[in-house]
Symmetry: C2
Subunit: 155 residues, 2 copies
């Protein structure tokens, strides 16, 4: 299968997902030309605001491969990943990402993707959800403990 | 309990989480002065790159409340949320966010938070992980289906 075919699969799954009661988004993870995992938007049926298609696909692929990194995998998503999913893509260290619809098409359909991109780029004090750093004397203590911890698994 | 106390709880949980084999991060969700959920970074023990403290806390709070939105809840995190978690905060529509350590302290401890903020703000073609929009004739078809679907749950 070529890149267009994997992406077409993601778009088809996104179409079908609407009928399943989920949002109009799906994604697949591919490694060495083989399907590793499928993810569908399941925010409302599972009461989980993080259950976007890409997050679901990444989590499923990691479970299948028994690893928290996907450095040899490509992600095909029916829509441009939102900032949450883009962050997950970086943490999972995917090799490449292909998508069909844009964040603007998502916005036109009523989803907040474009707005959240703006918010992530704004200064902490300028965001629509109030955010504040409070001063605690031991704020960095968890990092000090991490540096000293001998058995840690870096990531 | 005051805001400082809830944040202190998150920092203490982050400290303890290092000894449990997780990353040095934790978060709590609070509503009407009562603890709703706790989240700990469990990326490496669970092989899940999305298992950041804030994501875990949001998912747990949503399970507890049976809702995919947390509009009456505040989040206290031991560290400034990364873009993935910030995206989740917006999707969950939390009321406010408080944090202790900064993204720069996280970066100094070896975590990619600050780098990922840069990447999210970059144009699609300028990112360190190759990303590309492929042209598909039915790229927006899932959104068309969504618009026409009578029983959908908007979010």
């Amino acid at each position: 299968m070529e890149s267009h075919d994997w992406l077409q699969m993601a778009v088809q799954l996104a179409m079908e997902n609407v009928d399943r009661g989920g949002g109009p988004f799906a994604a697949v993870v591919v490694r060495n030309g083989a399907l590793v995992a499928v993810g569908r938007n399941e925010v409302t049926p599972t009461h989980d605001p993080t259950a976007h298609a890409e997050i679901q696909a990444i989590r499923s692929a990691c479970r299948t491969l028994g690893d928290f990194q996907l450095t040899e995998c490509d992600l095909y998503s029916s829509c441009e990943p939102c900032p949450m999913c883009l962050g997950a893509i970086y943490w999972a260290r995917l090799r490449a990402v292909y998508f069909a619809a844009s964040r603007h098409a998502a916005a036109e359909a009523g989803f907040d993707d474009a707005f959240i991109y703006e918010q992530v780029g704004a200064a902490v004090g300028d965001r629509s959800i109030p955010m504040k750093q409070l001063r605690l004397s031991d704020a960095d203590a968890p990092f000090d403990r991490w540096r000293l911890f001998a058995d840690k698994t870096p990531y």
